[in-house]
């Protein structure tokens, strides 16, 4: 047994063959990671660099771990949410010589313990999701936190948290907001989460989208994607927002916009995408239509207040895999998908492979910038030229050819300045 395997804490090493098969499929569909990223990381800058990778632990994430390891990095991996870890993939990674601390469905305490095991490997860089490891290191491993040299962050929620940390004067190292790169949020959040959320909801319920009324809570990039896929498959989306500009955007896009009590009153499905807490909670359950189905597409497991629903219900049972039916106040049935965890990952396959090829190219290049660049403490975004390189690499892999402006096509504004 390798030293990495020895140190790892995973559920079942015997699942490795299935995990390796899933990672191989991800590799097969990752032209940007296999091309641009491998080339860039191949400059030797990652030799012996300790990198912690804490993202939803499934096949695509695992493939990124192998690409970093192939570039010479010493990679240690944990899942950013225990509901989304795939035990076979974790076993596959360990089998490939990468240290992993993660088991599907582990309790909160065990999950935190896994994260701290990663922290104790003294990472220099973190590729984080929701800033889950970064925040825990700040709190529980302050000395190791001070030694971090950079963090690249995957999500909207995590970027907001890291900004808050910076504003409080407690960020001693540079952060790359991978989420804020165009090749991330324009595709991952909108198309990736949008498609895979709708996909997971339909697979878990065996529902038809055509003719459904769907309340989408939150109209950021994720909510936008969900609302548009709902409409594309024949559903009617009603959007709930607190931000006037996003509300206007939803309205102009042709979606109905309504306050939550009205929106959920006749909704067959309610999907939360706020990235915040208790988007649907105690004050809302009474407004839901009987037998409504709730699902969460945002970062927190707490976006649907499942704990409150438990408290207010006389019983709960699993009616299909991934579907919990609550007897709310004895009279009304309310269904929750994937226990309120991210439905596309905990109840589905996660984002499509092609999308993660882009997102992880952003993560990879952001990490590379942190390693080779000279960034001050604070929150940064991948330089535009690197963002464009990713887009060009992907287009090239699809055989798409771009035009460029001819000399006489440039604006003449220079003459006026």
């Amino acid at each position: 047994m390798s030293a990495e395997a020895d140190r790892s804490t995973i559920a079942d090493p015997s699942l490795a063959p299935a995990g390796r098969q899933a990672i191989a499929w991800a590799s097969r569909n990752a032209p940007v990671l296999n091309g641009l990223l491998r080339k860039r990381l191949g400059d030797g800058s990652f030799d012996g660099v300790r990198v912690a990778l804490v993202v939803h632990l499934e096949a695509k994430t695992a493939f990124l771990a192998t690409v970093l390891a192939d570039a010479g990095a010493r990679v240690v991996v944990a899942g950013s949410n225990p509901q989304s870890t795939r035990d076979d993939v974790a076993a596959g990674l360990v089998d490939m010589g990468i240290e992993v601390h993660s088991s599907r469905g582990s309790a909160y305490e065990q999950w935190e313990k896994d994260l701290l095991s990663v922290a104790d490997t003294k990472p220099e860089y973190i590729i984080d999701d929701g800033a889950e490891l970064t925040l825990r290191m700040a709190k529980h491993r302050p000395a190791l936190f001070e030694e971090l040299r950079g963090v690249s962050e995957e999500t909207t929620t995590g970027v907001a948290r890291l900004h808050a940390l910076h504003d409080a004067g407690r960020l001693p190292f540079p952060v790359m907001a991978a989420n804020d790169a165009a090749c991330k949020y324009m595709f991952d959040n909108r198309y990736g989460t949008g498609q895979s959320t709708v996909q997971a909801v339909l697979a878990l319920t065996n529902f038809l989208m055509a003719g459904k009324r769907v309340a989408v809570i939150g109209y950021g990039w994720v909510g936008r994607g969900i609302a548009n896929y709902v409409r594309a498959l024949g559903g009617r989306a009603v959007v709930v927002e607190v931000d006037p500009i996003r509300s206007l955007d939803a309205f102009m896009e042709g979606h109905e916009v309504a306050p939550i009590a009205d929106a959920i009153a006749d909704a067959d499905l309610v999907i939360t995408a706020t990235g915040g807490m208790r988007a649907v909670g105690s004050t809302h359950f009474g407004h839901l239509k009987p037998n409504a189905v709730l699902a969460n597409a945002g970062h927190h497991d707490l976006e649907i207040d499942v704990a409150a629903l438990h408290q207010e219900s006389s019983g709960v049972r699993t009616v299909r895999e991934g579907v919990s039916c609550f007897d709310w106040r004895g009279g009304k049935q309310i269904n929750v998908l994937a226990a309120g965890a991210l439905v596309n990952i905990a109840g589905g396959l996660g984002h499509p492979i092609e999308i993660m090829d882009l997102s992880f190219a952003v993560q990879g290049l952001s990490s590379h910038e942190l390693v080779v660049g000279d960034y001050a403490p604070g929150v940064h975004v991948l330089p535009r030229r690197l963002d464009e390189e990713i887009a060009r690499a992907r287009l090239a892999s699809e055989g798409v050819i771009l035009d460029s402006l001819a000399d006489d096509q440039f604006d003449t504004m220079q003459e006026w300045i």
Partner: protein, 414 residues
């Protein structure tokens, strides 16, 4: 002696899924209530050939609760063992094993026919054709057939034209409450979803080639387009091809589309719609799936350099081509929404199975007086089914005014 089902112990899991489906099937519930009140099927024998999953199980139970003796047959690729066990636990005769090889499937189908069917709900006219050929001994028992699919109605019409059809058959497939919804929205959504579920792929930016632009093909094209794909249609029928052009799709010969397509989905219901010769033209990594009838709709035999390889993920088989390229076949060429997914969505099957239920009801009351032939389902069946589905959604519609009715029924100009 092969048992008729695989795992009697898994009934509870199947029953739970059946229960979930049942609560979203108001039209079938109402059709079942009408059947129960009429008593038309009390003690009669109904045989069902349909993909055995939670929704068809609800139909079997509905007929059983209306007083019928019910038997179910499904082939291996269309069988979920826990649902089979669930039905068996409710006293239904089930002949379906997910692990059956071809010979076992033939054996199970024969036992199903042996059981003695008066009213047959058929899929692809599978049992009807056997009863008219090798099992003619069961013809005297058979009162009538209700056929579910496009690919079943076609051979029934051929049989009728040749004078070979000896029982009345209702073309359930052709009923508007079925074909305008099931074939378009149900199969469209579920086939496309099953392909992206099986492969974890994204349709945004993909070129999806849909072979055949009937109702199923148009539904698949619509779902793929909705999910961001560029859709190309291939057709042999000029009217359908022209319709596809007017719906905004690129129409090309299949061999041309093969050069640029990323995902190929056949929706013809006809064998050899996509063969090894076309596969050889495809790009490395292309995906192929069937949304129509299953083998041999995609047939990759006959070219020794096209070789089936390993299953690289569940329901995805690698197919090796010339020159170190490979493409991938979903669900081994069976209907991908059934084999790699859970069949059509619940609400769609509610409509189709409500029509089936009312069709059998009609056969039970009128079938004995009908001459052999292929009949449309009576128009009130479609309307009753649609009204029940609208009522569940809380949707009211208008009724014509006297003036409108008068105008609609007169031919004289004013």
């Amino acid at each position: 002696m092969t048992e008729n089902i695989v795992s009697p112990g898994s009934a509870a899991e199947g029953l739970s899924r059946i229960e979930w489906a049942k609560q979203f099937m108001p039209a079938l519930f109402e059709a079942g209530q009408d059947l129960l009140e009429s008593g038309a099927l009390a003690g009669r024998r109904v045989g069902i050939v349909l993909a055995l999953e939670p929704k068809t199980a609800v139909l079997a139970l509905t007929l059983s609760e209306a007083g019928a003796d019910v038997a179910v047959y499904a082939d291996a690729a269309s069988t979920r063992d826990s649902e089979a066990a669930a039905l068996a636990s409710k006293g239904i005769a089930v002949f379906a094993r997910s692990d059956a090889d071809e010979a076992t499937d033939v054996l199970l189908l024969d036992r199903f026919i042996d059981w003695g069917i008066e009213f047959l709900i058929d899929d692809g006219a599978v049992a009807t054709r056997i009863i008219h050929t090798s099992r003619r001994d069961m013809l005297p028992t058979l009162v009538g057939v209700a056929e579910e699919t496009t690919s079943g109605v076609r051979p029934l019409r051929v049989m009728a034209d040749e004078g070979a059809l000896e029982v009345p058959c209702l073309a359930v497939n052709d009923c508007d409450a079925k074909q305008l919804f099931d074939n378009v929205y149900g199969t469209g959504q579920s086939v496309v979803m099953s392909v992206i579920d099986a492969t974890n792929t994204q349709l945004q930016g993909k070129e999806v080639v849909v072979v055949g632009y009937g109702l199923v093909g148009s539904g698949i094209a619509g779902a793929a387009h909705g999910l961001g794909a560029r859709v190309t249609i291939t057709e042999i029928d000029p009217i359908k091809a022209l319709k596809a052009v007017h719906d905004g799709y690129l129409v090309q010969p299949l061999r041309e589309a093969c050069l640029s397509g990323d995902v190929f989905i056949t929706a013809t219901g006809v064998g050899y719609s996509l063969t090894a010769a076309e596969a050889q033209l495809m790009k490395d990594g292309a995906l192929m799936a069937v949304g129509g009838e299953g083998p041999p709709e995609i047939d990759l035999t006959g070219d020794p350099s096209v070789r089936l390889g390993d299953e690289v993920r569940p329901h995805v088989r690698e197919v090796h081509l010339d020159g170190d390229r490979s493409v991938f076949l979903v669900a081994d060429g069976h209907c991908s929404n059934i084999t790699a997914g859970e069949g059509n969505p619940i609400e769609i099957m509610d409509l189709s199975l409500a029509v089936q239920c009312r069709a059998v009801h009609h056969l039970a009351e009128k079938g004995a007086g009908l001459r052999p032939g292929v009949y449309d389902v009576p128009p009130d069946v479609a309307n009753a089914t649609a009204r029940a589905a609208l009522a569940r959604k809380g949707i009211a519609i208008d009724t014509p005014t006297a003036a409108q009715e008068l105008d609609a029924s007169s031919w004289r100009t004013n």
